[in-house]
């Protein structure tokens, strides 16, 4: 039996360009789509990039032929999130950029990403964040596993890669239990913000990233026809959107020594106790 640890890994990490959650975010009420003008790499995807790089490094990193492809689906500006991943240490980039994909729901997105992963070649491991910070569905990783026929190791708060056997063990919550799950490659791994501490790009990483290649592809390059992407390929449709009415400030009191009692009076008045 050959030693699996000598075989280089092809890892693909998915990154998403999302509106910065530190500021107010908006839905365009005409298009019913999220306003993506002020976007950054989804914070939760930084943990995915870190997990992918750490696993590649376990096998000897890029010098030993291990690849970490940072891939995204999004408009022209989304390439910025791929570049951030390249600065962190991903080896190359892949950008699915096609106006026809705008407005894809979770299922249509998963199908397009599965096609992108197949296009990338012989991928052993797909790594993602636990959810995007914009749509927040957290379901695309499981759908990718389903579409690709890969093991689904999702919502991992701890990841242990056994380099010799090529198996992944993860810890995840399930109801009142904490589970340890194990699966072999090929797999889809999604990680939570508890899984690791993402590295910051250093000067060398930033300089090296300038020389790394980002390949841009269209839906047609992946063999996706117009009826399978965007709104046409989405089994759900958004009918309307409304901003939540702003919460007005209520009564604010300063504690005069009796504020605890005032709080209980308020709760009783509101029939909350």
């Amino acid at each position: 039996m050959s030693d699996a640890s000598s075989t280089p890994l092809n890892i693909l990490v998915l990154v998403k360009h999302v509106p910065d959650a530190q500021f107010d975010r908006h839905i365009d009420l005409d298009t019913l789509r999220i306003d993506r003008s002020e976007s950054i790499l989804s914070e939760l995807d930084e943990y995915a990039v870190e997990a992918a790089l750490a696993i590649a490094e376990d096998r000897g990193g890029p010098k030993a032929g291990n690849q970490v492809i940072a891939a995204t689906m999004g408009g022209p500006k989304a390439v910025a999130s791929v570049k951030k991943a390249l600065q962190m240490g991903a080896t190359s980039g892949l950008h699915l950029n096609d106006e026809a994909l705008a407005g894809s729901d979770a299922v249509a997105t998963a199908k397009a990403l599965a096609a992108l992963i197949k296009y990338a070649g012989d991928i052993d491991l797909v790594v993602t964040g636990m959810a995007s910070t914009d749509a927040e569905t957290g379901i695309v990783p499981a759908q990718l596993a389903e579409l690709l026929g890969f093991a689904a190791l999702t919502n991992a708060s701890n990841v242990d890669f056994d380099s010799a056997s090529g198996t992944l063990s993860i810890t995840r919550d399930h109801g009142a239990d904490s589970l340890t799950l194990r699966g072999s490659l090929p797999a889809v791994l999604s990680v939570t913000d508890q899984a690791n501490e993402p590295r910051y790009p250093n000067f060398r990483g930033i300089m090296a990233a300038k020389k790394k290649k980002v390949e841009e592809v269209s839906a047609a390059d992946l063999g996706l026809d117009a009826s399978s992407v965007g709104p046409a390929g989405s089994p759900t449709r958004v009918l309307s959107a409304n901003a939540r009415p702003a919460r007005g400030a209520g009564t604010v009191i300063t504690d005069n020594g009796q504020a605890g009692i005032a709080l209980v009076d308020y709760l009783a008045e509101q029939k909350l106790i």
Binding site: I34, D105, Q143, A176, L179, T180, G183
Partner: protein, 312 residues
């Protein structure tokens, strides 16, 4: 009328609050079938009957992770061919819905707060800053519903439901369960479905005792901001917000949390927000229904004591 299937990955003798809410929602649809993984006990059947459920599909339990539940849901969908499937909103059931949707050519909507009789789903978007309405464009629609969105209301005593065994093809599982460890139970309600949440942030400065005391007086769940969990003052399981648990309780008491935009994500859909903070400029006061500028170490014990006094 829209037909619906309610899917439970497990059903105890006493269904959970979130499960009762799903059963309440199911009374809007006809026919409404419940599919359960594992044997349905007599007391549980009685509860189902109380929501007017007449048909139950019972799949065998299996010691695998998720693959069996996905196969069971797939089998239940092929068996009753519903227009709508209702599931819990936790990460496990969201994934079960997501994978079954791929197999059955359906769609998925998560974080629903309401589903109308015609199948129109209302959901929260951008951490509760927006709500959207959406529906199925094609195929079966699988919807995961946030806890505390529907008022639990049994529809009166019905007849005993008919239980039918569901044949589920053995899943060829690529994932093994190596270890299963029960987490330590606090005896408090689950954060995701609690009616009342008392949450502490940076301002508690390492000491959650006043938060826990008030929570216990109120029968509430304890929550924490990311700053508090990152500081190691309390376990990550208590974290409210985007990377923790999203909550939508009747009452959310925010203590020593400034209320920056990310902190609002995950709690701003609470019906009533109370804030206690010593900083009068804390942004939390802009969204609080009732705010107290003061020291939490004074205010919380006094409030807890007063609640206990009034209860006794």
């Amino acid at each position: 009328m829209t037909s619906a299937l309610v899917f439970f990955d497990a059903l105890g003798q006493e269904p959970t609050k979130a499960q009762r809410e799903l059963l309440t929602l199911a009374t809007r649809f006809s026919p409404a079938t419940v599919a359960v993984v594992g044997e349905v006990s007599a007391p549980a059947l009685e509860v189902l009957a109380g929501y007017g459920i007449t048909s139950v599909l019972q799949a065998p339990a299996a010691d695998s992770f998720q693959d069996h539940e996905v196969a069971a849901l797939e089998a239940a969908i092929s068996s009753v061919n519903p227009e709508l499937v209702l599931l819990a909103n936790d990460s496990f059931n969201r994934e079960v819905a997501a994978r079954a949707a791929i197999r059955c050519n359906g769609g998925v909507i998560t974080d629903a707060v309401d589903v109308a009789g015609d199948g129109t789903v209302t959901k929260d978007e951008l951490a509760g800053s927006y709500t959207t309405q959406a529906n199925a464009a094609s195929g079966v629609l699988l919807v995961t519903v946030k806890p505390n969105s529907i008022e639990d209301a049994p529809a009166g005593a019905g007849q005993q439901p008919q239980v039918q065994d569901l044949q589920v093809a053995a899943a060829n599982s690529a994932v093994q369960v190596v270890e299963r460890q029960a987490k330590v139970s606090t005896g408090r309600p689950a954060l995701s479905e609690a009616r009342i949440v008392v949450a502490g942030g940076r301002g508690v400065d390492g000491d959650f005792a006043p938060i826990e005391e008030l929570a216990d007086a109120l029968g509430a769940a304890v929550g924490a901001s990311r700053a508090a969990t990152d500081a190691g003052w309390i376990d990550h399981d208590y974290q409210v917000g985007q990377t923790g648990t999203t909550v939508s309780p009747q009452l959310y008491i925010s203590v020593g949390i400034s209320g920056a935009i990310q902190q609002k994500a995950g709690m701003q859909t609470s019906k009533c927000i109370v804030a206690v903070n010593k900083d009068e400029d804390a942004p939390i006061f802009e969204i609080a229904d009732f705010g107290i500028i003061g020291d939490l170490r004074q205010v919380l014990p006094q409030a807890a004591e007063e609640i206990r006094r009034r209860k006794s």
